[in-house]
């Protein structure tokens, strides 16, 4: 169980690290990144959001909203999650995507917990906040898949977003529970067989906020590297929606390589309060999960 806890913490820390690292190169093209940073592999802030070094964005903050709601309620609490999103939105976060804003506003003003289906909802805004969902349902893949879609639908209602949330959640859970690289590859192939938009070979370098690009980018760089650092560096140097591809790559790579896999110098530069809260939340979420003996 100690290993499980270490990998769970690393998965959540991976989100924060990938977010902070990738935010510097968000919306840049690979050639621009090369020109400005050579190889970008340090947490330095900046980027289009003028971040302080180690500052995180909506990817980590929305994940923390879900974590706090579940921890406070001692279990799943969808209205609680939506309330946290609304409170966070009013606090003028450093960034908030248009699709997420609309869904949160419709909850705030109309109490709506599920946004209507929309062809434009195939963004990665729901998939990027999957780590707390994976942790609090650890040991029950069916429950994870159901709650993954429920939380997604607060802001995103599209089959590709649903598939990404459930599929990525499954990979994270299996990695935390000790799956081998080959087993993770098989899980990815199975997901891609069901959802052709996620097929990542051949990889064409598309790394936008469209969830198809995001999943392909994450899979390509996770399976194309052998450690946490190389995975994240490759991912964020691809540019595009780099903080989100970085966060999701960090989630999977953290879950697989564990706490020791995350470079200490990156952890040291993370906002201290965010890092402490993420580590504590990961433990408490796993403690609430079926894997810890709950049902």
């Amino acid at each position: 169980m100690a290993d499980v806890l270490s990998r769970a913490r690393a998965a959540f820390l991976g989100v924060a690290v990938g977010d902070a690292l990738g935010a510097t190169t968000e919306y840049l093209m690979p050639e621009e990144i090369r020109r400005l940073h050579g190889v970008h592999d340090r947490i330095v802030g900046g980027g289009w959001l003028h971040l302080a070094p180690g500052q995180v964005t909506d990817d980590t903050e929305m994940s923390l909203c879900i974590a706090r709601a579940v921890i406070d309620a001692g279990g799943w609490d969808l209205p609680g999650i939506a309330d946290r999103f609304a409170r966070w939105m009013k606090g003028k976060p450093v960034d908030l995507g248009a699709t997420c804003r609309r869904g949160i506003r419709d909850y705030l003003l109309k109490g709506q917990l599920e946004t209507p289906p929309n062809e434009w909802d195939a963004g990665n805004g729901a998939a990027m906040r999957m780590v707390p969902v994976a942790l609090c349902t650890l040991g029950d893949e069916e429950r994870m898949a159901r709650l993954a879609v429920a939380q997604a639908r607060i802001t995103h209602n599209h089959p590709l977003s649903d598939a990404a949330c459930a599929g990525l959640g499954r990979m994270v859970q299996r990695a935390i529970l000790g799956a081998s690289r080959a087993q993770l590859r098989a899980a990815a192939e199975e997901l891609c067989a069901r959802t052709p938009a996620f097929r990542f070979e051949p990889y064409r370098g598309e790394a936008s906020g469209y969830v198809g690009d995001t999943v392909r980018t994450v899979f390509h760089h996770f399976f194309g590297t052998g450690n946490f650092r190389d995975c994240l560096v490759a991912t964020v140097n691809q540019g595009g929606d780099a903080d989100t591809t970085g966060a999701i790559a960090g989630m999977i790579a953290g879950a697989h390589y564990g706490r020791k896999g995350i470079p200490e110098r990156w952890l040291r530069r993370l906002d201290r309060r965010v890092r402490d809260e993420v580590e504590a939340a990961a433990g408490r979420l796993v403690a609430l999960s079926p894997a810890a003996g709950n049902d």
Partner: protein, 112 residues
């Protein structure tokens, strides 16, 4: 979708933006305009004589919103822009037939 256009006193801009932010509305376009109405302009000294400037600086806000948000946005702007003294301004609601987000080509409600 509707366009909500508000002419307000310039010092009220921050308060109106804050109140709109509290209901999740952040996007808007603002311009500096001159208002003529019942409120008198200030007096100015020019070549030794005092005269009344007949217009007052105002701020115009333009906010495109989905139909189901109009009442709420109007109410929020009204309440936060009001001082109760002449010259507080006006709100106009007009119909918008199409909206396009230039960056992505999104149309309609997804564009705002």
């Amino acid at each position: 979708m509707k366009k909500i256009e508000a002419i307000i006193k310039p010092f009220k801009l921050d308060e109106v933006k804050e109140s709109l932010n509290d209901i999740g509305v952040q996007g808007m376009t603002v311009s500096e305009v001159k208002g003529f109405g019942r409120q008198k302009g200030h007096t100015e000294l020019y070549r030794g004589a005092e005269y009344v400037v007949d217009f007052l600086p105002k701020i115009k806000l333009e906010i495109i919103v989905p139909d189901d948000l109009v009442a709420q946005v109007v109410e929020v702007v009204e309440k936060s822009a009001r001082t109760g003294r002449i010259g507080d301004g006006k709100i106009f609601v007009t119909n918008v037939e199409e909206v396009i987000r230039i960056r992505t080509g999104e149309r309609g409600l997804d564009a705002i």
